[in-house]
């Protein structure tokens, strides 16, 4: 006879926190457990379901959001860690000067199919352009490789980032 692994999580470790989050320019005061990730808080407590969970292990990029302009995997970020930052999710991209261009470029170039990885791709592509990483197709591929797309829209994603970056450049 064999038994399951010894439990490694103790319920006593549970601690509630009062958090103040700024998401897409709006303030939210919430009570959450210390262990809750930014991804889970965005989705399950704030109802911002645009950000997706693909693996919960920081391996797929579907949950990518911006914190103070930097790309962050929200599944590997505790909500408490984002407390003093400005969080931007895909829902905030329509107001974002570069994000909006990226969204239009993804539709024009068909940089998506099922659309599930798309919120992460949009956020990541926006940051990629702002980081100055969209200098060539090769550079775009590298900078966008943290965002998996199982539908295989990669060539179209590169085309979308390239075209959005060109518009940003012209401005």
């Amino acid at each position: 006879m064999r038994s399951a692994d010894t439990p490694f999580v103790r319920s006593a470790a549970r601690t509630d926190l009062d958090l103040h989050l700024r998401v897409n320019g709006r303030s939210h005061r919430i009570r959450a457990e210390a262990r809750e990730t930014l991804l889970d808080v965005l989705r399950e407590r704030l109802g911002l379901f645009g950000t997706k969970k693909g693996c919960d292990h920081g391996q797929c990029g579907a949950c990518t959001v911006l914190v103070d302009g930097r790309r962050v995997l929200s599944c590997l970020t505790l909500a408490a860690q984002a407390e003093h930052g400005a969080v931007t999710t895909v829902e905030g991209m329509v107001e974002h000067p570069v994000g909006r261009l990226v969204q239009a470029a993804f539709v024009a170039e068909d940089g998506l199919q099922c659309g599930y990885c798309t919120p992460g791709q949009i956020v990541s592509a926006t940051a990629c352009i702002l980081e100055g990483a969209a200098t060539s197709d090769e550079a775009i591929r590298e900078a966008m490789s943290g965002n998996l797309c199982r539908c295989g829209a990669y060539p179209n994603i590169v085309a979308a980032v390239r075209s959005a970056a060109a518009v940003v450049e012209r401005r």
Binding site: M1, K52, V107, C114, G115, R141, N156
Partner: protein
């Protein structure tokens, strides 16, 4: 010869049809804004969260589950174990609707594979449920495990029989052949890995169940829920507006859905069960591992005389799932003599499932690799060898092809790729940095199936026009092409049409599988929209209040949503205005393609089981899509790394309903094929059958940086024997033949044959 991406937009004003034009994805805006609501993007009031617990033995029995601590853990509402989970009802057979195999035990105590679900915990939050799940103490009596097809004790397998082929006398023809090649090819377990994991949100209102769940086949899944819970089919509402990738993995209802619905019933509140990424490797099967030995014989001109195939595929110990290894082998080329045998090796795994191009991929990997070996042996260019063996009709069935433009794909692909400059000898092309380059080619096919269905069309006095179907869009473009099809037949613009999909309350749609949904549904929507057009014109001519009543016109036209006398657009009246004028709020039409006199009961059976699958064209002609892939690889022998540098692929998929979106699917298939060749394979622990790499850091799928430019082009022409609107399968063909094209290119670069996927860097290094 059309480049799917470089066609001009057409609209009604230039007389072009919408169907066949490269309209942008109509649901694209919602997806890029994060507004497309997937199944788990819902939090109905009072939602509770469930997690599944996996068993940690490869075979045996659950002896006991100590759930005392778990039940006392904060927030826990319910724990299900093999010993206290209500037994669910028995759905009818998925195959044909006959009585099923008996009650559904959600968590059987008998363990047949590692990772089998053994318990579930429901709590106020997912974190609480996960914490409590870790507190369960599960005692097992482990049994003997056969971990995989590679295990020594897996045995030779059981003959399948049903897929055996004996055409002519293959052994004799092989013995008399001038050129003979023999090799064994292996493909690993592959996993669908949609980026959206499986999951469900379920709630009850009385004896009516609503489930939000990603689904490739709404009605079949709804039927299973009805059977489980002993309620009428009509009492189940399954909603799947957006599906975050399926690839064959989201066709049937599964344990997680049963748990969500069961817990929701017991608790009287909505329950969400999210399957974790790791659990997705054991909650449902991926593609079966396969192994096949091929012997090919050809005459002095390279004309195939014989193929002898002997293979095995893996399946579970409880379901004889067949990954058909001769799916391509038997029909690709004109071979007078063919013998094919396949066995099933039963091991302790979750039952494998259909995955994008089931059978066709491993079949083509073997055949198209062996053809390359034959070409090399015979000293014949591999494109030329394929052209010499073109089949004028289906060599397996004797049927004429409805269309087969593989020759055009090969010839045009070779031209675009620059194939004529390819030196025949391996190890004769180098990049500027000294690394080897190699060029490879392979072909593929995807046989079509047809299905039945319904399509609804609704026109409202408020101006809205809706297409209604329980069929789904998992990124395949259904929303878009059905708007295009409706627009043409009704006489409106695609932008005027709202397509509603993925809800079992809508008219019944076929499964999104075997790449058949687009062909079936464009035909049905065209039919419904054409009927609607006739209805509207009839009303305009006859109804009181219509400005056209009594005009002595025989008929009217509808152009850009306005009704007018055929040669007089100046007197046009918008459809909505006509409806208001004649006092109608709404007109609805539902059209179907069932044989006349089909009973409601038979319709239900056809639409909810695989009994509805049928050959296209009434079985008169053989219908398949065809493709040819040309690949350049760069191989660094110091590191054993292989990079795909360039892909040019030609497709014959008949008429493309939307070349822009079809090109995306072609590329997507090719990307998955690159993964199959270079990256993907389940690693099985030889002790207990555990999938070791059950995460996206270890089961590698292609990243953006792995993918080069991919040029796709269409050589297809409308094929109205294949489907009412002239198209052939699109969604799966792209994957077929990619892996052998890459491996053939690696041979050309290095002189080494890759006969086992994924390509093993160590193997590539070891002989250098």
């Amino acid at each position: 010869m059309t480049d799917p991406t470089k066609r001009k937009h057409g609209d009604a004003s230039d007389g072009a049809l919408h169907l066949g034009s490269p309209l942008a994805r109509v649901d694209g805006d919602r997806k890029v804004r994060g507004e497309a609501a997937y199944a788990l993007d819902a939090a109905p009031a009072g939602l509770a969260h469930g997690v599944l617990v996996r068993g940690t033995i490869g075979a045996g029995t659950v002896l006991s589950v100590d759930a005392a601590s778990a039940r006392q853990s904060p927030g826990v509402l319910m724990v299900f174990t093999p010993f206290d989970t209500p037994v669910l009802g028995a759905p009818d057979s998925f195959l044909d609707g006959t009585p099923g195999e008996g009650p559904f035990h959600v968590f059987p105590a008998s363990i047949l594979h590692w990772g089998q679900a053994v318990a579930a915990v429901i709590a106020e939050t997912r974190q609480q449920a996960e914490t409590a799940a870790a507190l369960l103490r599960i005692d097992y009596a482990p049994g003997d495990v056969v971990p995989s097809i590679l295990s020594k004790d897996a045995g030779p397998g059981v003959p399948v029989g049903a897929v055996d082929i004996d055409r002519g006398d293959a052994e004799a023809a092989l013995a008399g052949s001038v050129f003979r090649v023999e090799a064994t090819y292996e493909t690993p377990r592959e996993y669908h890995v949609p980026i959206e994991p499986h999951g469900a949100v379920a709630w009850w209102e009385g004896d009516r169940l609503t489930v939000r769940e990603p689904s490739q086949w709404i009605d079949a899944m709804a039927r299973t829920y009805a059977g489980w819970f002993g309620i009428p089919f009509e009492n189940v509402r399954l909603i799947s507006h957006f599906v975050g990738g399926g690839f064959g993995s989201k066709v049937t209802a599964m344990t997680h859905g049963a748990v969500a619905a069961l817990a929701a019933r017991e608790l009287g509140r909505p329950v969400k069960v999210a399957v974790t990424r790791a659990q997705n490797f054991t909650a449902h099967g991926g593609r079966a591992a396969t192994r096949q030995t091929l012997r090919l014989g050809a005459d002095a001109d390279g004309r195939l005389k014989a193929i002898v195939q002997d293979g095995e595929s893996e399946t579970s110990v409880f379901v004889p799932f067949v990954e058909q290894l001769n799916a391509a082998t038997s029909v690709m080329y004109d071979v007078p003599n063919l013998r094919s045998r396949q066995r099933l090796v039963h091991v302790n795994t979750v039952t494998p499932a259909h995955m994008r191009a089931p059978g066709k991929h491993p079949s083509a990997f073997g055949l198209e690799s062996a053809i390359d070996e034959l070409a090399h042996l015979a000293g014949i260019d591999p494109v030329e060898l394929r052209l010499r063996n073109e089949a004028g009709f289906n060599p397996q069935t004797g049927q004429p092809w409805s269309s087969r433009r593989l020759r055009e794909a090969l010839v045009e692909g070779a031209r675009r790729f620059g194939w004529k400059d390819r030196p025949a000898a391996p190890r004769s092309m180098r990049d500027a940095d000294g690394a080897f380059l190699g060029w490879g080619v392979a072909a593929g096919l995807f046989p079509a199936l047809d299905h039945f269905g319904e399509a609804g069309l609704r026109v409202d006095a408020d101006g809205s026009i809706e297409v209604l179907s329980a069929g789904i869009d998992m990124g395949t473009g259904t929303y878009t092409i059905l708007a295009q099809a409706a627009a043409d037949a009704l006489g409106v613009l695609p932008g005027d049409v709202t397509v509603r999909l993925g809800d079992s309350e809508l008219p019944s749609g076929p499964l999104a599988g075997n790449s058949l949904l687009a062909g079936v549904m464009t035909g049905l929507v065209h039919k419904a929209a054409a009927a609607m057009r006739e209805t509207i014109i009839g009303l305009a001519l006859t109804e009181q209040g219509s400005p056209f009543r009594g005009s002595e016109l025989n008929t009217l036209d509808i152009t850009r949503g306005r009704i007018h006398p055929t040669l007089d657009e100046g007197r046009a009246v918008p459809i909505a205005d006509l409806l208001k004028a004649i006092g109608r709020d709404r007109i609805e039409r539902i059209e179907d393609n069932f044989p006349a006199g089909t009973s409601a009961q038979e319709r239900h059976r056809i639409m909810t089981t695989v009994a509805g699958l049928r050959p296209p064209d009434g079985g008169v002609s053989s219908v398949a899509s065809w493709c040819a892939h040309f690949v350049e690889v760069k191989v660094d022998e110091d590191f054993g790394t292989v990079r795909v540098r360039r892909v040019v692929s030609g497709f014959d998929c008949g008429r493309l309903y939307n070349p822009h979106l079809a090109a995306s699917q072609f590329r997507g298939g090719i990307v998955m094929g690159i993964g199959q060749a270079l990256l993907e394979g389940g690693r099985v622990d030889p002790r207990d059958g555990r999938i070791v790499n059950d995460n996206l850091g270890d089961y590698l799928i292609p990243t953006n940086a792995d993918i080069p430019d991919i040029e796709v082009f269409s050589v297809g022409e409308p094929d109205f024997r294949a489907a009412p609107m002239g198209g052939k399968p699109v969604g799966e063909i792209g994957i077929v033949g990619v892996a052998p094209a890459i491996c053939n290119a690696v041979f050309h670069a290095t002189g080494q044959r890759i006969r086992r996927l994924p390509l093993d860097i160590a193997a590539l290094l070891s002989t250098n």
